[in-house]
């Protein structure tokens, strides 16, 4: 006879095992526990509430279908964020195909602006309240190009190595390095409150 699970206190692994056997209540508990993190990751990449909601929910549906593939090498939350990141990357690729690249975006891609920016010697984030800093980061992320933001999120928030980012994004390690460099420099400029005209 199988043991009854106390869903609210059970470990993730226990819930995953139960969900694999078709226990939807166990899966629902996993969703409730990690939904903010998964949604936040989708939002960081897409910068759009509706898209982030749809993609995060799609990620949960995919996770249910692929539970057998979860080997437990990483935590369940990490496994889930990988799924949602892949979905976001697919969505961004679709959008990229649909939109025409502007000259400004091409300039950003090659780093034309960031390379001319002076090095910011004083850390502008020092002394800022955490909430204020988070707001500034949030605003700054919105102002990055999709390509730069994607690499930045995958490296700083997801802590993926260059090689892994390159594999997932489908570009060379060199491209990852340059995008990350430009993204960081642009972030530094945005957090310092520099305007583009001051960079030149």
């Amino acid at each position: 006879m199988s043991k009854k699970i106390d869903y609210s206190t059970a470990e993730d692994d226990t819930l995953v095992r139960a969900a694999r056997k078709g226990d939807m209540q166990a899966f629902e508990e996993l969703v409730a526990r990690h939904r903010d993190k998964i949604y936040a990751r989708a939002f960081s990449m897409m910068r759009n509430e509706d898209e982030a909601l749809d993609l995060s929910q799609e990620a949960w549906v995919k996770a249910w279908q692929r539970l057998e593939q979860f080997q437990g090498e990483a935590s369940f939350a990490t496994w889930m964020t990988r799924i949602v990141i892949n979905l976001c990357l697919d969505q961004l690729r679709k959008q990229k195909r649909q939109r025409a690249e502007s000259i400004e975006q091409l300039d950003e891609e090659t780093g034309g602006v960031e390379r001319q920016m002076p090095v910011i010697t004083t850390n502008p984030t020092e002394g800022l309240e955490r909430q204020e800093l988070r707001k500034r980061i949030d605003r700054a992320l919105t102002q990055l190009s999709v390509e730069h933001r994607t690499v930045l999120v995958m490296h700083e928030f997801e802590e993926l190595e260059y090689k892994e980012i390159a594999r997932r994004v489908g570009c060379s390690i060199g491209t990852v390095m340059s995008r990350l460099f430009y993204a960081r420099r642009r972030m530094a400029g945005l957090l310092a409150g520099l305007k583009k005209e001051e960079w030149k």
Binding site: M24, E28, V31, A32, R35, D36, Y39, A40, F43, S44, E49, A52, L53, S56, Q57, E58, W60, V61, W64, Q65, G111, R115, V119, I120, T121, N123, T125, R130, L133, R134, K135, I137, D138, L141, L152, H155, E156, F157, E161, Y162, M177, S178, L180, F181, R184, R185, M187, A188, L191
Partner: protein
């Protein structure tokens, strides 16, 4: 400083260099103020982000968020079941006709082979018309001589009498 050198400084910061390269870059940073300033900027930009991912929460309630997920899971499972059923029917449709034709051909071949090995009397009678009639018109007379130990049998047909 060229772009390649800038990227090397970043790789140093991200721990993506080999041990020997790391030492080399560390020495370079110590003696080059420009390199030192750039590493300092990249460092604070990195740490500001790493420690302060914007906090966003799902705008929907737990129940509402889950209801969309569970509905989609159920919808996909139903669709999958329908697809599997349709695939099974399609499989049968695809193979049933050829299999039926092969079975019919095998049955006909088997009947022919059995017929060749055991010729039916009916066929013989049909092919050798009149034999059956002749048998039914025949009679026999038997003569026995017990002293001589002889038995003689005459066969005749009605037409001969």
């Amino acid at each position: 400083m060229n772009f390649e050198q800038q990227l090397k400084l970043q790789a140093y910061l991200d721990g993506e260099l080999s041990a020997s390269e790391r030492e080399e870059v560390r020495a370079w940073i110590e003696r080059d103020a420009e390199a030192k300033a750039l590493v300092a900027e990249l460092t604070w930009a990195k740490s500001a982000l790493t420690a302060n991912e914007p906090e966003v929460k799902v705008p929907d309630s737990r129940e509402f968020y889950w209801s969309k997920i569970s509905r989609e899971i159920e919808r996909q499972e139903r669709a999958e079941a329908r697809t599997e059923g349709a695939a099974a029917v399609a499989w049968w449709r695809r193979w049933l006709a050829p299999m039926g034709a092969v079975a019919a051909a095998l049955i006909v071949a088997a009947v022919i082979m059995v017929s060749d090995r055991n010729p039916q009397p009916v066929v013989a009678v049909a092919e050798q018309g009149g034999v059956g009639e002749a048998v039914s018109d025949m009679g026999a007379i038997t003569f026995e001589d017990h002293s001589a130990g002889v038995t003689m049998v005459w066969l005749y047909s009605d037409s001969e009498i």
